[in-house]
Symmetry: C2
Subunit: 361 residues, 2 copies
């Protein structure tokens, strides 16, 4: 069961929620923009479906709605930012602004963040660089759900990497990928539909490949991109590890199995190795390498050539970012579908915080 909501309805409700937990107008607007962007781009698992999770973290005292976000160390091209337990949805874009400012000054800027939490879709932050004629990068570590190759224990998050690259006439190149075979959101879809997962997505608690999309609740784990050793899972594991280290060891956040869980009912580690969750954000001015117009001409050419690749019957080679951009264009007009579980969660948020919600009127 799905119901369609207008973008404005969801934005208003989300902003009112962040205001109700004590965020400033400015922060509530920013967090709303990041969160609803996920729904617009079709990454439903990272949009308003997570709103109740943020509220519960706030209730548990794990989110500070009025953080003092500050640079604790810097060089001309780098900074470490302390997010002061603020919403990742607010901390990450502010850290990205710092990366962009540094890129303006010395060509590139790289910011590692500690003491933050879930930052929404990595793609949002990377895309902030685009209208500055910069390449944007965003990574984050996350709740441990992924077993490295040969492991039976969950050691890494789905640790995404996003890279946004500006263009001229073509739409921008925007890759935003979890370093796992499949993101957790895809398992949730299978669970709702009562379908099995393909082999290579998950394993059971003994480390055997499994098709059961509920396996994570029974001690199983998501698998790194590649799925198994023979298909290169050690590469997906290495990529997830790099994201973990850049996000958390650079900054002084918790890494690996110490990364704090998103769900508030799981306890925090008794012996943390850092503060909160970590992110890594980067910006590179394209004219720090070659004239911007020249770069963008070649990016247009790259994209056109790849779109024209000879393809298997009935298929087309896509450019990273194509599906999300098409979904966004569609949903901006037609609205955003939410399933009944998400609507129930939003109703719970509305009652808890005493704010209006369409379905309760």
């Amino acid at each position: 069961m799905e119901e369609i909501f207008s973008v404005e309805e969801l934005e208003n409700f989300t902003r009112n929620t962040f205001l109700a937990i004590g965020c400033s107008e400015e922060d509530a607007k920013l967090a709303t923009d990041v969160l609803v962007k996920a729904d617009l781009r079709g990454i439903d698992s990272h949009g308003v479906a997570r709103l109740i999770g943020y509220v519960r973290l706030w209730e548990a005292g794990r989110i500070n709605p009025t953080p003092h976000i500050k640079i604790v160390h810097e060089t001309p091209s780098t900074a470490v930012v302390d997010g002061d337990k603020g919403l990742g949805l607010v901390v990450a874009p502010k850290a990205m602004e710092i990366a962009i400012q540094k890129a303006k000054e010395v060509g590139t800027g790289w910011v590692s963040v500690k003491n933050s939490n879930h930052f929404g879709i990595a793609g949002y932050h990377s895309m902030m660089a685009l209208d500055q004629d910069m390449v944007g990068m965003a990574m984050t570590n996350a709740s441990p759900l992924v077993a490295p190759t040969f492991a039976t224990e969950r050691m890494l998050g789905t640790n995404p990497i996003a890279v946004a690259i500006p263009t001229n006439e073509q739409p921008p190149f925007v890759a935003d990928l979890a370093t796992t075979t499949a993101a957790n959101g895809k398992l949730e879809i299978l669970q709702r539909k009562g379908l099995e997962a393909p082999y290579g997505w998950i394993q059971d608690k003994q480390g055997n490949g499994s098709k059961n999309p509920h396996e994570l609740k029974e001690g199983g784990a998501l698998l790194p991109l590649g799925g198994d050793r023979e298909h290169g899972s050690h590469k997906g594991y290495a990529l997830g590890a790099i994201v973990d280290i850049f996000s958390a060891v650079f900054s002084g956040a918790n890494y690996g199995p110490w990364a704090p869980p998103f769900v508030s009912f799981l306890p925090l580690s008794d012996n943390p190795v850092g503060e909160g969750l970590g992110h890594f954000l980067g910006a590179m001015r394209i004219d720090a390498f070659r004239p911007a117009d020249e770069f963008k001409w070649h990016m247009d050419n790259w994209i056109k050539r790849f779109r024209d690749t000879e393809a298997v019957e009935g298929k087309q080679v896509l450019i990273p970012g194509d599906p999300e951009r098409e979904t966004e264009a569609l949903r901006l007009k037609a609205g955003i579908p939410l399933n009944s579980n998400v609507i129930r969660d939003l109703e719970e948020v509305a009652k808890k915080l005493k704010i209006g919600f369409k379905t309760l009127q």
Copy 2:
């Protein structure tokens, strides 16, 4: 049939080869160091097995043994380097030195290279940063052998990403991974042994999954990490694309299907979009983020915790770089095994250039 060679024998022969084609003493030594490092680390496909390929490229006039390698554009944290058709084995480490120098000055350094060719193992260049207390990164584009998701055409190289991260007591973290399910070298091993490839490594020219390790000679292609769409091949494709763009669109090298082939018998593109092959090299000072000792203490802790991960019966969770480091320790003592095809190629090089070789004495 294999024969064991001492490291010194292979180094002498390789250096004499590069001297014979006109390299300076310094460049011949550097190129030898990079090439033989691949054999030492067990990445046999990228070691002296490729020496004849470099010689043939030189014969075809595609390699300049006395390049004037220069910075053509720079900012405090970036540079574009023109390799002047030099050996990638020489151009890449010199570009990495520039990245390291910039990191010393402003925290990080990022160098995109054009007009180069095959640079050996990416891991070598990334590891140059380690004893500077820096994180090193190296990427390169390469001859088009890989079909993007849904494609029947080869558009990208195996486009590797290497990341080296310094430690204190533990050996360093060194990830060096092709963005394909399996590197071409693994297919060559299967070909020699007459074995089939697992599904997910290659496709035939119609885009169907194939087990035939000779498929590339018949119009087939390697597959991006993930193997197929259901297992995330669009992520491997996106990663390979990012490497291509950072290496070649940033610098002004040839990208995508225009990337020049390694083998000299294939023609260069009639309408190149840039100059030669491209690389991307990066260095980040760890103390640009937090005190170096603190960073390295946490890296040791990261590595110990991951090594202790609960694993499936009879297996252990490895740290990226473990297998290569163990092979290197072994081969430094026991020597380097070469198969008869490689020995035959080295004999051909020896005759062609009139230099001594063990088996010909």
